[in-house]
């Protein structure tokens, strides 16, 4: 059987008056049914753009998908007719966005926003759609769902609105759920509720999940596999435990070191990554991370590394995988102290 999702060499550019933003460059990965993939990166790393490009939700212009294929159950989503794409977005791939307030229609009752989708996508009649809406709202933990379907988005709290968004995204039983920083705007106790909810729904419904975030902690709790993005490229992909125990890209190593762990004592400084992410219009030649990298040598400044094997189902786009894997975070700290 074909994998659920194969992204091949996806490249997205934004043509602005200042120049061409190289938002996503040559991203390739594969997902099986029921996978939970964490997509990690900082702002501007291309994590959201690459996912929205798969759904053809990039504003064109200025954006343009300049290459690659997105095979969803064998069909290339970048090639299918617009009508079919509507079905894919409504029915087969669900999306949750960061800010539920701006992604829900403020002048439509929340029940109607969900049941309308059921009528359009699944051909249900109005009454059946309403029944199903109540069920799906109960499933995501909205108390007294039957009474609340007539309420408007502003009558819900942030966490509850995000539950409504999730209800909408899963109402048509998608095979893939894309969650774009769904908990970033929420408090930690509410974030924990939402993460647990998605985890439970994933187990019950068997759908695959792409969870986009900058928060490695959330990823550690939820994902089975992680893709790390930097400056529009995929720099490391690994099973969750491998990524944290044996990172093979200097950027991942630096990110992990920059978080205080439970054993970081007050005497220790945090390891950190020098400098700031690059200007996406004028990327450095070679590896995009070299200006900030403690492992760089001449080759890094000249040639872009492809994804090399770094272990079992583990790949890293780095010329110095062995050195990175031999290092632990403290040695990076020393290296930077000496530099």
């Amino acid at each position: 059987m074909a994998p659920l999702l194969q992204v091949q060499d996806l490249t997205v550019r934004f043509h602005t008056k200042d120049g061409v933003v190289q938002a996503v460059t040559g991203v390739s990965y594969t997902m099986e049914q029921g996978d939970i993939l964490g997509l990690v990166g900082e702002s501007g790393s291309g994590k959201s753009v690459s996912s929205m490009a798969m759904l053809r939700l990039i504003p064109e212009p200025p954006g343009r998908i300049e290459g690659g294929r997105v095979l969803f159950e064998g069909r290339d989503l970048l090639q299918i007719p617009r009508r079919q794409m509507h079905t894919v977005r409504g029915h087969e791939i669900g999306v949750i966005f960061q800010d539920p307030m701006t992604s829900l229609n403020p002048v439509m009752p929340i029940g109607r926003q969900i049941s309308e989708a059921l009528e359009v996508n699944l051909g249900m009649d109005r009454r059946a759609a309403e029944q199903e809406t109540i069920q799906v709202l109960e499933r995501v933990g909205i108390p007294q769902a039957a009474q609340r379907i007539g309420d408007y988005p502003h009558q819900f709290s942030g966490g509850m609105r995000q539950r409504v968004m999730i209800a909408m995204a899963i109402s048509c039983r998608p095979k893939l759920l894309i969650a774009d920083e769904p908990t970033t705007a929420l408090d930690v106790t509410i974030q924990a509720q939402i993460v647990d909810l998605v985890k439970r729904l994933q187990e019950e419904l068997g759908m695959a999940v792409i969870w986009i975030t900058h928060d490695l902690g959330v990823i550690a709790r939820l994902a089975k596999r992680v893709n790390v993005m930097y400056a529009g490229t995929l720099v490391e992909t690994a099973p969750i435990k491998t990524l944290f125990s044996n990172p093979a890209h200097p950027y991942t190593l630096g990110l992990l070191g920059s978080l205080p762990s439970l054993d970081t004592t007050a005497e220790q400084d945090l390891a950190y990554i020098e400098g700031a992410p690059p200007d996406m219009i004028n990327l450095p030649p070679g590896c995009p991370f070299w200006p900030r990298c403690g492992f760089r040598t001449r080759i890094c400044t000249e040639q872009i590394p492809e994804l090399f094997d770094a272990g079992d189902r583990h790949q890293s786009a780095c010329w110095h995988i062995d050195a990175v894997q031999a290092a632990d975070a403290p040695s990076v700290r020393e290296r930077e102290a000496n530099a």
């Binding site: 942030g158 928060d215 490695l216 902690g217 944290f244 950027y251 630096g254 920059s258 762990s261 990554i273």
Partner: protein, 332 residues
Amino acid sequence: MNVNPTPHTNGAILQVEHLKKYFPVRRGLFQQVTGYVKAVDDLTFDLYEGETLGLVGESGCGKTTTGRAILQLEAPTAGSVKLRGRELVGLDQRALQPLRTEMQIIFQNPYSSLNPRMTIGRILTEPMLVHGIVATRKEAEERALELLERVGLSPYFVNRFPAEFSGGQRQRVGIARALSLNPYLIICDEPISSLDVSIQAQIVNLLRKLQRDLSLTYLFISHDLSMVRYISTRTAVMYLGKIVELGESTTVVSHPLHPYTQALWSAAPIADPAIEETRERIILKGDVPSPVNPPVGCNFNTRCPKVMKICHEVDPEFRELEPGHWAACHLY
């Protein structure tokens, strides 16, 4: 009630007692006051020389308002704030002005807190000239260059504008501005939460270094308990306008007494799948109640997994349950 979580009285450079800040809620044509948002509701704590006190809580718990009420950027509704023994509450702007050189603030958002039309040099020299801590403009300019170097920025940046800088660099400018008047107390209001992860550690390390070099005292306001645990000597946990727990940071995290602290810590994601797999998680039900009508009794009783009958009736007293470890809970 005379509660003061003070193991010793000397060394406290800031004493906050029964601090309250209520915002009126106005309704209707004549803007009648129909209620109050109790943003800060009876806080008492001390800040010791050279320490970092972490103030942690979720959005709307009143932690930012606390910082602003201490600096008198918001006039407190009631209570007392003493800076090295001098009462700040009730002072007018003129009387406060000389004290501003002693206490400063670093804001959360480095994009909105720097004037976009001023050069970095002007942002740094203006406070020095206004407060007269330098004799001449030339001296102010020299000091601005020193400050830039101290926060890890090139002196060449002095003639540039904020728009030319990244978030992390702007936050460094914000830190340099706070330092320009030589304060000994700095309120850090979520100084890293708008920055990318790889930049956060740079700023945290810088703040720690400045504290060592300049003997600064910090009130570090944050929603991130794991960062607060790391950076703070002591940690205060706020919920709905009140401090529910206060103690040594390592103790508050490893041995939390208040059910809210326990839940907050268990909800804080830790970047280690091995720990996450085995960690017990307390998922709180529901949302934070409105601070306009906080629950009667303990204000955490609507979400507390260990709620008892008394919690609906009596507001628990904030007491020292172990040496230096305070909490407001009926369980103890």
